[in-house]
């Protein structure tokens, strides 16, 4: 099919481009750094395109597989491959990276090369997370991405950036270190293998499954983030630069959710069934309670951050319904949230660049000054609220359908998001965009420029396209999801 190692390119093109950008050095060469970064990110997206064109939707096997011995002393392999679950996420990441580079084009004036390099390197590492089929390789990418993100939040973030960067790093490290112990334990249980697919068939006792379930749950739950380990996210979001928020919301949260599908469900099916109630309860709390928390936020970024937590609650809820509709719904919701949250953070970035405030109360009457922007913002706000015909509706609807099959009350609580989501998003929208101009600085706000229209326009197409015709996405996922559920249904107790 394809003679060359596509996944290796998908991972290493952005990383090498990042190293190249870093080599341009100081801010005297900022323009050069920007163009190299753009070229690198676009090239990263181009090399990912064969993943769609060459993808076989009829099989649940791993595709584009590469396998080389890496650390023989520990039997670790450089083992890559994608299925219907990870392939869309890699594309989403490569796509968002281009947007992030463009979004930081003018806003970032300080240490441009380092900023762009951090994003490119992180993009490559995240592609690695989605493509890795070896436990240690996965862990290396999973942890490695913390380094650039730590720097992005800490160097280019807002006033409270140091606190946010530390909190974010240590929180996520706590989870992943316990996961590391689990990975090593699995190595011995599976007879000396770090291969994730081998682990899918390793028998494990209930005690071991339970302990590992909670270790993995902490690792991925912190990243998702699930209530009550979500508190790092609002801090990190608020303090991160626009690009950082976009990547955090659109991509890194998906890494946590992806971990559920690659590790928790197939490797620990019995514990997953046993403690599904626990995850469902946490997810429902996230949906309902965090929705209410979002309602009272005065800071737009914080509001969207809480809304992200609520939407990710939907994702985990869908996963633990253990039926194809719920899983696919969760996956669609992941992709959709990638587009919508990226778009909303970009919108806030557009406003912030002009007024240097994220407080809702500082705005009002924006529609008079920036009508085009207001229209885009409207679309994304509606998508966030789950309006039909936008991508936000599809995933939520599928998950609610799946939940009804399992238990009416799950669906009932989950459906409150349609009310809360609409309430907090549209209320914010109303206060920011409509009404009279009260802040004199709003009077001076400039129209959106071509670069911003390009960013928002591309995302608007994605949101509408996915909302009107989601079938290509579900087709790609379907076979892999059915296969995954077959694993979950099969007990692995000895």
């Amino acid at each position: 099919m394809f003679g060359f190692p596509i996944l290796t390119l998908v991972i290493w093109v952005p990383i090498l481009a990042g190293a190249l950008v870093l080599a341009t050095g100081s801010d005297r060469n900022a323009a050069l750094a920007r163009w190299i970064a753009l070229a690198g990110s676009v090239l990263g997206l181009i090399v990912a395109i064969p993943l769609i064109t060459g993808f076989d939707v009829a099989t649940s096997n791993m595709q584009f597989v590469e396998k080389q011995p890496w650390i023989e002393a520990l039997n670790v392999h450089y083992h890559l491959g994608v299925d219907g679950i990870s392939m869309p996420l890699i594309l989403l990441n490569s796509f968002i990276t281009v947007l992030v580079v463009i979004a930081g084009w003018q806003v970032i004036q300080d240490k441009v090369a380092q900023y762009m390099a951090a994003f490119l390197i992180m993009s490559g590492l995240i592609n690695g997370v989605f493509a890795a089929l070896d436990g240690i390789l996965f862990y290396v990418f999973f942890e490695g991405m913390l380094i650039p993100l730590y720097l992005i939040v800490g160097v280019w973030g807002g006033p409270n950036r140091v606190y946010a960067a530390f909190k974010f790093f240590l929180y996520t490290l706590l989870g992943s270190l316990l996961m590391l112990v689990s990975l090593i334990y699995l190595y011995f249980q599976s007879g000396g293998s770090f291969d994730i697919q081998t682990w899918h068939t390793t028998t494990l006792g209930m005690t071991a499954q339970t302990l590992m379930f909670f270790a993995f749950l902490l690792a991925f739950g912190v990243k998702v983030p699930m209530w009550p380990v979500h508190t790092w996210l609002p801090d990190a979001h608020v303090e991160a630069p626009t690009g950082g928020s976009v990547v955090l919301a659109a991509i890194t949260l998906k890494v946590g959710a992806y971990g559920f599908l690659r590790f928790i469900l197939p490797i620990l099916p019995d514990a997953s069934q046993e403690y599904a109630w626990f995850v469902i309860a946490l997810s429902l709390i996230a949906v309902a309670y965090i929705g209410l928390v979002a309602l009272v936020q005065a800071d737009m970024k914080k509001l969207i951050a809480y809304s992200s937590i609520a939407h990710m609650g939907f994702v985990t809820l869908g996963f633990f319904m253990f039926n194809p509709l719920g899983l696919e719904g969760g996956l669609v919701q992941m992709i959709s949230h990638g587009f919508v949250s990226a778009a909303l953070f970009l919108c806030i970035g557009v406003m912030y660049d002009r007024l240097h405030s994220r407080q809702i109360k500082d705005y009002g009457g924006l529609v008079n000054k920036m009508p085009v922007f207001a229209a885009f913002f409207m679309l994304f706000a509606m998508a966030n609220a789950g309006l039909p015909a936008t991508s936000g509706f599809v995933g939520e609807f599928m998950v609610i359908m799946a939940a009804v099959k399992v238990n009416f009350w799950f669906a009932f609580v989950a459906a409150t998001t349609l009310i809360f989501g609409a309430a907090y998003t549209l209320w914010m929208y109303k206060r920011v965009v409509f009404g009279n101009v009260t802040n004199p600085h709003v009077e001076e706000m400039q129209h959106v420029n071509a670069r911003e229209i390009l960013l928002l326009g591309v995302l608007a197409i994605c949101v509408l396209g996915m909302g009107l015709y989601p079938k290509p996405f579900t087709d790609v996922m379907h076979v892999s999801v059915v296969d995954l559920l077959a694993h979950v249904a099969q007990s692995k107790l000895p």
Binding site: V155, V162, L178, V181, I184
Partner: protein, 481 residues
Amino acid sequence: MSTSLSQFIPLLPEIFVLVMVSLILIIDAALGDSKRYVSYALSLLTLAGATFLTLQDFSAAPLVTMGGLFVDDPLSDVLKLFLYLSVAVVMVYSRDYLRQRGLYKGEFFVLALFALLGMMVMVSASHFLTLYLGLELLSLSLYAMVALQRDSSVATEAAMKYFVLGALASGMLLYGMSMIYGVTGSLALADISQMLADGTDLRIPLVFGIVFIVAGLAFKLGAVPFHMWVPDVYHGAPTAMTLFIGSAPKIAAFAFVVRILGQGLESQLTEWRDMLVILAVLSMAVGNLAAIAQTNLKRMLAYSTISHMGFMLLGILAGSNNGFGSAMFYVVVYTLMSLGSFGMILLLSRAGFEADQLDDFKGLNRRSPWLAFLMLLLMFSMAGVPPTVGFYAKLAVLQAVVEIQYIWLAVVAVLFSLIGAFYYLRIVKLMYFDQPHDTSPIETGIDVRLIMSVNGIAVLAFGVLPQPLMAVCVHAIGASL
């Protein structure tokens, strides 16, 4: 005992170093301060020559010589190569620092090379007597090195502390050895191992002996609760000496522990494992927690050393070849990181200014992005964050611990390394998030910068491709024990 010359061949590197260090001692006496580079060059030449001789005579299997006193095996050869490299890097890093402080004297080279000789003897010892001789040669050289800056009261105090506590540790070690001798009737490790494997009725003296030996080893490693000297000595000694103490001697200490516990007392694994568990947990706890409170980088790194030694003990206490291999990998990686981070302090110091406060690293990214990047790699490696090599060191020892079903210990270890991550992250924060308050240019020779770059990049390169280094360690242990 045969008296043929061939039995001296495995000792050639040691003999060569001894001859050269004596030569340097004589030549240097005749050199003025302006000609000191001759001693410097001769010292590096000695290391190069020793490297050549060790490689020439690289052994595939253990070869015991000198009537059972000395062993030449892959483990000793590999460790010696790391020792040469480490001492050479120390000399390059320290040169400017010592010159600016009037310490750039022949004594430094002579003492450093004598310490190296002691370490080589330790690494190759197969007998309690040679082990002890090597250890004392190393220790006495180190005491003198710490005290070399004789008009500094802090350094003198550190040397005194080091000497008194070091002598106490040596005493404990000797006492333990004498008890083992009482039980087995031999000082040769091979005989002791044989004797103990056959079983003995003298359990109580044996256990007493093991306790004293482990305590003595813990002293030398700086494991809690025998760690009191570490922060004071690291802090008080001139940074160049701290760099020396913090690098190569750790490799020698590793060899020392493996020779005694892995080759002499391996049948008593159940006796010493629990002691090491306590030492390891306490070291990781105290080292990581106390490091948070430090404002002096040397002191912080001293506590970090304590916690790293705790981590290394995790590999040792597994008691398997896999465990010793992982501990060896850990100690080599640790030496690499330690060289880099203390070297960075030297590099940023200049005449009349010590860059050993945490705040001296503020805004380093603005002053020198490249050096900041190297330090970033070193710090993340110390914290054990992939893709740096420090992660694989932690992975290897954790794997050894899980293998013997001490999963709780692995969990404890990762939780403490989480605490450790905090203070390494703080350095990164100072370098990247803060503004510099010291904007003077960084003056260092191109060779120092080059070695530092290689050192920092090695941390990343071995992180992307850890296989070669790991394979060397696994092979060395597998072919020697």
